[in-house]
């Protein structure tokens, strides 16, 4: 149980900063184009193909993994969107030279705390579901792959504004 809490904390530490540290990083679903859809699909399919190879998954595990992750993603995406909205509210309230509305700030922070708990609950739910068809080692491998993806997305986003990212060794 203790190791699971550490596992949860690690994941939250890896994923949530992507959302929390960049209030301007609004999701692009409202303006997504066919090219972006195609690239997201391609990234996901390549990610799953790598997972299958590295984790040694069979077809049945692959089908279950895809379905489980899609279910979790729906919940996760909703939480992340709300976190982005609240971060935008906080950024608005903390603009220099403008007095912040304390009740708005308090409510936003309280809601952010609730959302972080919800995020952890979704992670626990995901692990519980994955444990139904993945071994602990496979779950850990999948967790590491997701963590690497989140890290790389964070690096790419930090390179926004014309900075070039250091060359990264291909996996």
């Amino acid at each position: 149980m203790r190791s699971f809490s550490l596992f949860t904390a690690l994941t939250l530490g890896a994923v949530l900063p992507l959302v929390a540290q960049n209030p301007q990083a609004t999701p692009r679903d409202s303006t997504i184009g066919p090219q972006e859809v195609e690239m997201r699909d391609r990234i996901q399919e390549n990610f799953l193909a790598r997972a299958k190879e590295q984790m040694g998954l069979n077809d049945e595990q692959m089908t279950k993994l895809r379905a489980a992750e899609q279910r979790v993603a729906t919940k996760r995406r909703g939480i992340e969107q709300e976190i982005r909205r609240l971060n935008g509210t906080l950024a608005e309230q903390l603009r220099p030279g403008i007095a912040a509305k304390e009740d708005v700030v308090t409510k936003s922070l309280d809601s952010l705390g609730t959302l972080r708990v919800s995020y952890a609950a979704v992670f626990k739910e995901e692990q519980r579901e994955l444990s139904g068809f993945l071994t602990p080692v496979q779950r850990a491998q999948f967790y590491r792959m997701r963590e690497q993806m989140v890290d790389r997305v964070r690096e790419v986003r930090q390179d926004r504004g014309g900075r070039q990212s250091p060359p990264r060794q291909r996996q």
Binding site: V15, L18, N22, A25, T26, P27, R28, D29, I32, G33, P34, Q35, E36, V37, M39, R40, D41, R42, I43, Q44, E45, N46, F47, A49, R50, K52, E53, R66, E69, Q70, V72, A73, T74, R76, R77, E80, M149, V150, R152, V153, R154, V156, R157, R160, S165, R168, Q169, R170, Q171
Partner: protein
């Protein structure tokens, strides 16, 4: 004999020239003696004759009818506030229709289902160029490209060869 004042007489010259009034004997005598009043009279007689032949040839009735028709036509083009609202509504509806029809995908409805299929939610905030970076780095494994173990290198397509080269480069 009544004294004739030049100023008063000159004020009456237009009326007399137009035929609405006539000079009295005293006024006529004054005009024959006063060079200034005679000059003004000749000037007004001359100017009153200008364009008289144009006026004689100009048929006012058709012109009036054309002007009236033009005013009616222009009046119809004037958009009432109620019509403006209808037009604005139609323009908005057209804009929505165009937006829906030009939404990515072949169908008229937004492709929400495909968006939900992506479980890598961290990709949501990346733009096209950033997605391309990730897509380029995350190439499919060789096993997913369908290369069999016994295949000769020359049997590989360009993508497979590129993957082999990458793996050799480490």
């Amino acid at each position: 004999m009544t004294e004739i004042h030049c100023e008063l007489l000159q004020d009456r010259i237009p009326e007399v020239v137009s035929g609405r009034e006539r000079w009295s004997a005293e006024e006529a005598a004054h005009l024959s003696r006063c060079a200034d009043c005679a000059t003004v009279e000749r000037l007004l007689v001359a100017t009153s004759a200008l364009g008289r032949d144009v006026e004689a040839r100009f048929d006012a009735t058709p012109a009036i009818l054309r002007v009236a028709e033009r005013l009616r036509t222009e009046g119809r083009r004037e958009v009432s506030p109620v019509r403006r609202h209808w037009i604005a509504g139609l323009v908005a509806a057209a804009a929505v229709t165009v937006a829906v029809l030009s939404w990515p995908g072949s169908g008229a409805a937004p492709d929400f289902a495909r968006q939900e299929q992506s479980f890598l939610t961290e990709l949501d905030s990346l733009d096209t160029a950033e997605l391309a970076i990730i897509a380029d780095e995350l190439a499919p494994p060789l096993s997913a490209l369908g290369a069999s173990e016994g295949a000769e290198p020359l049997d590989l397509d360009s993508t497979q060869l590129e993957r082999v080269m990458r793996s050799l480069e480490g």
